[in-house]
């Protein structure tokens, strides 16, 4: 049913429909509204989950780890410092092959402290073994959670999924959302049947010490599974389309790229703003397009190669940094074309919207303007030169 809902409440509604056995979370802006709503749904008897209040994100992640190991569907959500506080457990959850779903309300990282949106938190956990999906709008964020559980819990996958939605822009934005019915969700998402679980009646050990004779194979197994995930995501999105009518590619989205001469590559809500600019520039006869990356992990190398190989000039937008090197998405896109004959003649990279700095249509137009024959790396857009005077002056 179509409703006018805040992003956080819409996601809470999606989680209610997924019927997790255990929810545990610690509030942090801008994720708080999601778990507040879930706590209320549980308290009001509208959701049969056990909601475990904890004193920190490290414990929240540990609780869902334990719950999932005991064989139930589990959910948590966090943001920024909270995600980093969880980090140790986040890696453990993937290593233990526990199909937990977590929402990250993407936000900047301290210091200096900043509660606003960018992607530094979620992108920094790219090596954790979690599948990582980035939503463009609230509807996509909602739908990703259903698909995330389906993906995570498939016996051929058994990996956790993080759904990233831009803090404030999507978590606190209110828009028209189509929430599927319980019947539709049940049809798409069967109840969770674990392969193994911790059970006192039938004891097993999970997560023991693994010495050098065995450790590498466990990592190899996840790496191989990630390859399978790339093939499996399109099957999941097709099944989802059959039930709801909403079709997603799940890996990437090509927007007016077919005959494009210049294409921006980006993730998250900024893709909406880019689509607006693409339409405006197309109306003026400029051949521009957008490649939206939905799956950041696993990284859809083949799909991206196919989408960009014939594009002359590509601009990669990062909303995070790997300080001292290429920007994160820039590095990945450049790696896709390393040693390839067919490739864009220019792959430039731009950093935009850190710590909530607004990304306007002008920011995007500036990137298209700067996408020339001169290749750029991690070029900052919308910097304020007056704020940099002191830092870089001689005196």
């Amino acid at each position: 049913m179509k409703e006018f809902l805040e992003g956080s409440l819409a996601v809470a509604e999606a989680i209610r429909l997924c019927k997790p056995g255990v929810i545990s979370a610690y509030p942090i802006t801008p994720q708080t509204h999601i778990v507040e709503e879930l706590a209320q749904l549980v308290a009001n008897g509208k959701l049969g989950s056990q909601f475990v209040n904890v004193e920190s994100e490290h414990s929240a992640a540990s609780v869902v780890l334990g719950a999932s190991a005991a064989g139930v569907r589990a959910y948590t959500a966090t943001s920024s410092q909270g995600l980093f506080y969880m980090a140790e457990v986040v890696f453990n959850i993937a290593g233990l092959r526990l199909p937990i779903v977590m929402t990250c309300a993407a936000r900047a990282i301290s210091a200096p402290i900043n509660i606003w949106n960018d992607h530094q938190d979620v992108v920094s956990l790219r090596d954790s073994g979690w599948i990582q999906l980035h939503a463009e709008d609230i509807q996509e964020a909602v739908d990703m959670h259903f698909m995330a559980y389906r993906l995570a819990e498939d016996k051929s996958i058994m990996l956790p999924v993080i759904v990233s939605m831009d803090g404030f822009i999507l978590t606190h934005g209110i828009e028209t959302v189509d929430i599927p019915s319980q019947e539709q969700v049940d049809k798409f998402l069967p109840s969770y049947k674990p392969l193994y679980k911790l059970d006192p009646e039938d004891p097993i050990t999970i997560g023991p010490l693994v010495d050098p004779d065995y450790y590498m194979e466990t990592r190899f197994a996840i790496q191989k599974t990630m390859e399978q995930v790339l093939d499996f995501i399109p099957k999941v999105t097709q099944d989802f389309a059959k039930v709801t009518g909403r079709a997603y590619n799940g890996l990437i989205e090509e927007y007016r790229t077919k005959d494009a001469e210049r294409v921006i590559v980006a993730m998250g809500s900024v893709c909406g703003t880019i689509k607006e600019v693409v339409d405006e520039l197309r109306a003026k006869g400029k051949k521009v397009g957008l490649l939206k990356v939905t799956a950041f992990r696993p990284f859809p190398v083949k799909s991206i190669y196919g989408a960009l190989k014939d594009i002359p000039k590509v601009a990669v937008i990062d909303r995070a940094l790997s300080l001292g090197s290429f920007a994160p998405l820039e590095a990945e896109i450049k790696a896709v074309f390393s040693g390839k004959k067919k490739r864009p003649s220019v792959i430039s990279s731009f950093v935009v919207g850190l710590g909530g700095r607004d990304i306007t249509k002008d920011s995007i137009k500036e990137i298209f303007r700067m996408l020339t024959a001169k290749e750029r790396s991690a070029e900052f857009i919308d910097l304020k030169p007056e704020l940099l005077k002191e830092e870089f002056s001689d005196g």
């Binding site: 209110i174 607006e276 306007t360």
Partner: protein, 183 residues
Amino acid sequence: MKEIRIHARAGQGAITTAALLGYVYFLKGMYPYAFPNFGAARMGAPMNAFVRVDSKPVRLRSQIYEPDYLLIADPTLLRGYNCFSGLKEDGVAIIDGTKDTEIPKLKPGQRAFVIPAKEIALKTIGRPLGNTALLGGFCAATNEFSLDSLLEAITKRFKGKALEGNIAAAKQGYEFVKNRSKV
């Protein structure tokens, strides 16, 4: 596409106003995107909320710099802060204020309406939350939707005493602007 910028202080209900305004458009079958922009996260700090609305889903995620309409929930924000920045040539501003509220010089096509929204709210709701009175004024000043559409949205979002008070506040805000324009 229409763009509305709300100026308020944190705690004055700007987000509720944006949500309610968006909801009116939603009930009309339009696609609103209502969103806040927080400054310092404390009561009383200046903040904005926005509504961008179109007949198709809104994709643009930036803040609003050239609004069609302004809602100013606190006249003290007019001092030392340019609330009117970027207002369109034919833009309309609805301001919660009094006869003494000074508004900047407008361009020929622009219009501004000062409504004693907090006063209305104190009488109707019992608290100085002028949002629904402002929206009543907005409705009369812009003709974006009918008063009935606004009252329908309020009826679906409020209950009991709050519902009664907010209905009365919206009607009085509406009447205030209607009567003023006749003069």
